[in-house]
Symmetry: C2
């Protein structure tokens, strides 16, 4: 049975489920940083997913990227499947801005996370909910 890796559980806030993936928010207010985790057991690499699941992942990734672009006004979107520390397949989707604290470097290992305050978190929830309700359902 699929179970979210304990490190992801510790570092992230669970926002909901798409058809394939759990949607997480990294608890770091430095950037709008989301993670998609396909709910499949013992999968570490994208190519290990079935063709059908890869298509779903692609759709859910596009859907999330468009939210980062259109609702979080990202200057650039960083998408990455690394997994050197947490082997459970998870795909980072990070909205980057020309003035963010790590730009133009990748975000990993640059700074300690700055955890969200409750009101900041509520704002993120509101934007994500609005985005999902207004964006066409994934076909």
């Amino acid at each position: 049975m699929f179970k979210l890796h304990e490190q992801l559980e510790k570092d992230c806030i669970e926002l909901g489920q798409f058809e394939l993936c759990t949607l997480l928010l990294m608890n770091d207010s430095s950037y709008p940083w989301f993670i998609l985790v396909p709910e499949r057991e013992n999968v570490s690499e994208i190519y290990e997913l079935s063709d059908e699941d890869q298509l779903l992942l692609s759709k859910e990734s596009n859907f999330l990227a468009l939210i980062l672009k259109n609702y979080f006004y990202a200057d650039k979107i960083n998408i990455a499947a690394l997994g050197n520390v947490v082997p459970q397949l998870h795909i980072h989707h990070i909205a980057r801005y020309h003035e963010d604290r790590s730009w133009p470097a990748p975000v990993w290992g640059k700074h300690e996370a700055i955890k969200y305050e409750e009101d900041e978190l509520n704002k993120i929830f509101d934007v994500v909910n609005k985005a999902i309700s207004e964006t066409a359902v994934i076909d």
Copy 2:
């Protein structure tokens, strides 16, 4: 007309073409580090590709990932579309090893590149050619 970004041209060695992408080798012998560049103009994000091109990208990415796994014996594969410095869409595919110089950190910004010697480069070419000739053609 599609033209490879000058920074990629400077940092990489061109290995060949798939149906959608140019295949590059980053000139850094620290890791087997390949880059796929879809031959499309003015595209910075994966979601900007057509559905058909996204499917091709997915196939070519899987094909390359399997080469990293089966011919370069990667412990983990890092796949990333960042593009904070080079806006032309390009997708990193890096074979990572438990004992490589940056493990478990991501590779970006960790170390100066160590350029390949000619004999090392020839070995890489041989492995890639063998891999492509032995691996089933992308369907």
